[in-house]
Structures are given as C-alpha cells and as structure tokens.
C-alpha cells in the first residue's frame, strides 16, 4: 500500500475558507514528489456541497466527515470527530492551513493521537527520500528545517500565503466523495461558543488607501506618532500601525494592519520601526511598493521591502517630510 496524505480543508458557516486551496496546492506538490496518494476531508454538519466543491480538484478522494455536533465549531467535537475518522482512514501526513481554528484544535488532536504537529510551516524539502518542513523561528529572524520522528500521522499546518491557491490543480474528473458519519456524543463538548461578532464599526477603510505610512514599536512613545502623522499628511496618505501600537491604545484598532487587523494593498507602504513579524506581513505584502526604515539590518521586514533604509527613523523621517513637501511644491 502506498502512503497517503490527507488534507483537512476548513469551512466556516457552510463556506469553504479560501486558504484551503493553498493547502491543496501544497499537498499536490508533495504528492507529485513523493508519489503518495492525496485525499481531502471536509469536516462539519451538512457540508456535502463543500465536499463537491473540493472534489473538483485533482484528488484521489474527498471525505465528507459529518456530525451534528460539529456545528458550531468546538475543539472537543473536532478532535473527537477527526480521531474517529483517522482511526478508520489512517494517513501518514495530515495537512491543514494554519488558521486560528486549526491552532485551536490541532495540538489537542495530535496529542490525543500521541503524535505531533509541525506548525506554521512555509515550505518543504524532499531530499534523499526524506521530507523536511521549513518553518520560521525567532519571529522570522531564522528559518528551521524540521523533520518528523515517530509513527505518525504527522500533522503539518501551513502559514497563509506559503503556497498559491491558483496553483491548486483541477482534476480531469471530479474526485469521488464518500460521506463518513462520525459519532460524536454531545457529552464530549464542554465549551459553549456564542455568536461571532465584530467589535466596532470601522471608521477608516485602509483597504482603499493608496499610500500608507505605518508605525511599529520603533516609534517608542505615543507622542512620536505625530511625526509619522506629519509624513502621512505630506504624502497624502493614511496612518496605520502594527499591533502593539494599537494594543497600547496609541492608535485605534481599525488602523491595525495584519492577520488580526486589516489586509491592505496600497501603491506605497512605508514601514517605520516595524520588525516584520509574519502576522504583520500577511496584512501588507500585497502592496505594490514597500519602503522600510528600521535600525536593525537583520529585521525580517527587509526581506519583503523593495527599498530598505537601515537607520534611525527619528533622523530620517524629519528630512524626508521636508523633501516630500518640497517635491509637492
């Protein structure tokens, strides 16, 4: 029997999370190199329509894993359901997107199966018949090659954007879909989730901004935000920030860029004193041009910047404001 790879796609409220296509693209690439069989699962209550949507991709099979207890999402129900499913349909590798939901249940599921999850993976290597996965460490300052030891299954979660959704290949014919009803007793579910909500109305829509000046912790003090504001004004752009700035209350939450804030794609993103943690980068890497000013030459933000300035922002921003004003006449 050949080894097999299982992709667990993510759905929420009956809709497929688009990042699942990225995981399918990753799985297809690994399957092509290893020759292993590739299957996918959709997990939920009444999600057959999503299973058929997934089945359009080049996959050997799609499982529709069903239980009424799977809606709404709880880590207890998902773990119980997938534990039962994997007992019936063992897999060597289980691939998932590194979403908040996956972070919430995968460590539990892996532990329940006495195995491990390699989390937040950005790529893989297949060398000499061995698979290693690459993941960032030390907030993106280093990358590690990580290998798996043990019986398996090995769970792997992929960081957003590591693989391209549009690379997920369609199949010649739809993959067969098998419905698997799992038995999740109501008593295993201990948490009671309430409705999902959004905190406040957004006052600014950064997604529409053409120029964004964004400040990070390098700005040091609340009163220095004014300096960044002056630069934004001179450029005719919007002010944005990394998460710690909004956590401190120096700027309102709706100016936060990143995985838990807004995703922006301006013509220019000017990052002042931002280190470039992945949760920030996912929110702004779609910018057409990125300028980063940071005093640390090794800051990860420089990996995605078009133009980099290694230096003290307090020395560079004031003359920059003057030059911009001059240029604008």
């Amino acid at each position: 029997m050949t080894d097999n790879i299982l992709i667990i796609t993510e759905q929420r409220e009956g809709k497929l999370n688009r990042v699942s296509w990225e995981t399918i693209a990753a799985g297809q690439a690994i399957a092509a190199e290893t020759g292993w069989t590739l299957e996918a699962a959709v997990v939920g209550a009444g999600v057959a329509a999503i299973a058929s949507e997934v089945a359009a991709k080049k996959l050997a099979k799609v499982y529709d894993v069903e239980s009424p207890q799977l809606e709404p999402y709880t880590p207890d129900a998902f773990t119980a359901a997938l534990k039962e499913f994997l007992a019936k349909h063992p897999a060597k590798l289980v691939l998932m997107p590194h979403t908040y939901q996956v972070r919430d249940f995968v460590p539990k599921l892996a532990t329940a199966l006495k195995t491990t999850a390699i989390s937040d993976v950005v790529g893989y290597k297949h060398e000499g018949g061995k698979l290693v996965f690459t993941r960032q460490m030390f907030q993106g300052k280093f990358v590690a090659d990580v290998s798996f030891a043990g019986e398996g299954p090995c769970f792997v979660t992929f960081q957003n954007g590591s693989f391209r959704a549009d690379k997920a290949e369609a199949g010649a014919a739809p993959a067969p879909v098998e419905t698997v009803n799992v038995d999740v007793p109501a008593s295993v579910v201990r948490n009671k989730p309430q409705e999902v909500f959004k905190e406040a109305k957004q006052a600014v829509d950064l997604t529409q901004a053409e120029i964004i000046v964004s400040v990070g912790r390098g700005i040091k003090e609340q009163k220095n935000i004014e300096l960044a504001q002056q630069l934004a004004n001179a450029l005719g752009g919007e002010l944005a920030a990394s998460r710690p700035i909004c956590d401190n209350g120096w700027l309102p939450m709706d100016r936060q860029v990143g995985s838990s804030g807004q995703t922006v794609a301006p013509k220019l993103y000017l990052a002042l004193g931002i280190s470039g943690a992945i949760q920030h980068i996912v929110g702004m890497k779609g910018a057409r041009s990125i300028i980063a000013i940071n005093k640390d030459a090794e800051a990860p933000i420089f990996e995605i910047a078009d133009v980099a300035v290694v230096g003290n922002l307090f020395e560079i921003v004031p003359p920059l404001i003057e030059e911009v004003k001059k240029a604008k006449g």
Partner: protein, 256 residues
C-alpha cells in the same frame, strides 16, 4: 481562584541573534526577557486574583537564567514560583514541554492555567493546548477577556480579521492569552523586596524525565531566511537618504 501562569524566557526583542557553529540553535550569549504574551497572562492572573481572591503561581522551564522571569513575576505580585531548572528544557518540543509542566504540577489543584498564545523563539503555538489535553481539561485560545460566570468562566476569543467570539468554559481550564488583553503593571520597590522571601520550588529534569519521550520533531538546521525580493538598500547621511527616497517616490513608485 487558583491560577498557574506559564512564563517562558526568550531572547529580548531587540537582541541581535547569531547562530551557533553547528547551525542548530542560536548562541546563548544574548539578553533575555519574558515572552510577551506571557507577561500579559501574568497581569491577567493578578487582576483576576484582585477581583476574586485566591493565589497566583508562576512557572518556567529553562536554565538557571530563566529564574529571572520568575523573580520579576513575584515582584509584580505572584505568590510563589515553580522552576523546572535545567539546560535540557530548552530543546524540548511542545509535547514534551507540556508533559514536563504537567508532571511538575501533579500535586497541585489549579482552577485555571494561563499560557501565552505563542512563544517568540519556537513559535509552536501549541504548549497550552497540549497541556489541556494531557490534563483532560477544556481549553480556549487567543483570549482577550475573562469573566467569572455561574458555571465557570466566559472568555472572549479573538478570531481572524477583527472578529471575536464569547465562549463559556467550565473549570478547571487552560487559556492561551493574547498580547494586549490588558495593560501591564510595573514592579514596585516593595514588591521587589517582598519577592525575595516568596517560595520558589525547584524541579529537576530527573524528577520529570519519566513523563517525557524523545522529541517527535527535530530541528535539523537553522539558517537565515533567503531573500525573496531584490531589495535595494539606500545609504548615506539622513538628508541624502531623504532625497533618494523622494526620487524613488517620484520616478519609480510614481506616488508623488
């Protein structure tokens, strides 16, 4: 409310990190601090205790230097500390770290365990959830608010893209705390003095080893990220850099 807070000592945010010769780990001669979300977890535990009374216990697994994060926590108001002390704790995967912690607290009876949602060095984002599974407790992740309720607690979970969700969780439970849940306090001089007399229990690797097994994931190699973009570095005095930047804004990026 008896709360355990797990605090990891990690390299300081601004520290320049260098690889060791084998390329398997960083050189350890850097300055360290408490992992950021763990500091928020401690603050939250202290606030809950102020509201509901009880006890706050802090725990770290790491070498002798890691005691510093426990001392700081005691100075801020934690009641006592547990130090799983040894160099061997640095190289554990999340499963083993959680098992070591579980073994060290087996005679305790906590209502709540707080961890940070993620460590700044390994970034597994798993230790708290694994610990909950080992203990057989429910858990909730990425927590931004906690309130005592009739049946246990009601927490506010952060979801992606600005969404949130309240979840009712029975006790005992493990929560992984997100940075920004509260405002951190500073230690006072009196606090620092009092900390010296607060109990600190040491646990050796030998005492918990029987609960561990070989790591299931192994770092084969650690290296600098490959640059994916052709980044242009501008150099010179600030005034020159400002001029060069404006050139680019005008002619290349066409935003002026």
């Amino acid at each position: 409310m008896k709360i355990l807070v797990c605090i990891k000592q990690v390299p300081q945010k601004d520290a320049t990190l260098k690889l060791n010769e084998a390329g398997t780990w960083i050189r350890e001669d850097v300055s360290y601090e408490a992992n950021e979300p763990d500091a928020f977890a401690l603050e939250e535990a202290l606030r809950q205790k102020e509201k509901l009374s009880g006890e706050v216990v802090v725990l770290t697994a790491g070498p002798a230097r890691a005691q510093q994060v426990l001392r700081e926590a005691l100075a801020k108001g934690a009641d006592r500390a547990i130090h799983l002390e040894g160099d061997g704790f640095v190289g554990l995967d999340a499963y083993n770290t959680a098992r070591a912690i579980a073994a060290a607290i087996q005679d305790e009876k906590f209502d709540l365990i707080f961890t940070g949602l993620q460590s700044d060095d390994y970034g597994y984002a798993q230790t708290g959830v694994i610990l909950a599974e080992i203990l057989g407790w429910p858990h909730a992740t990425i927590i931004m608010h906690i309130e005592k309720s009739e049946s246990g607690i009601r927490v506010k979970r952060e979801l992606e893209a600005g969404f949130f969700q309240h979840v009712d969780v029975p006790l005992p439970a493990v929560l992984t705390i997100q940075s920004g849940i509260n405002k951190l306090r500073y230690a006072t001089l009196i606090g620092i003095k009092q900390a010296k007399n607060k109990p600190m229990r040491k646990v050796t690797m030998a005492e918990v080893e029987a609960s561990l097994s070989p790591n299931l994931q192994k770092i084969e190699k650690l290296y600098l990220p490959l640059k994916s973009k052709n980044t242009e570095f501008l150099e010179g005095a600030p005034a020159d850099i400002a001029k060069k930047l404006v050139e680019k804004l005008k002619n290349e990026m066409r935003v002026l």
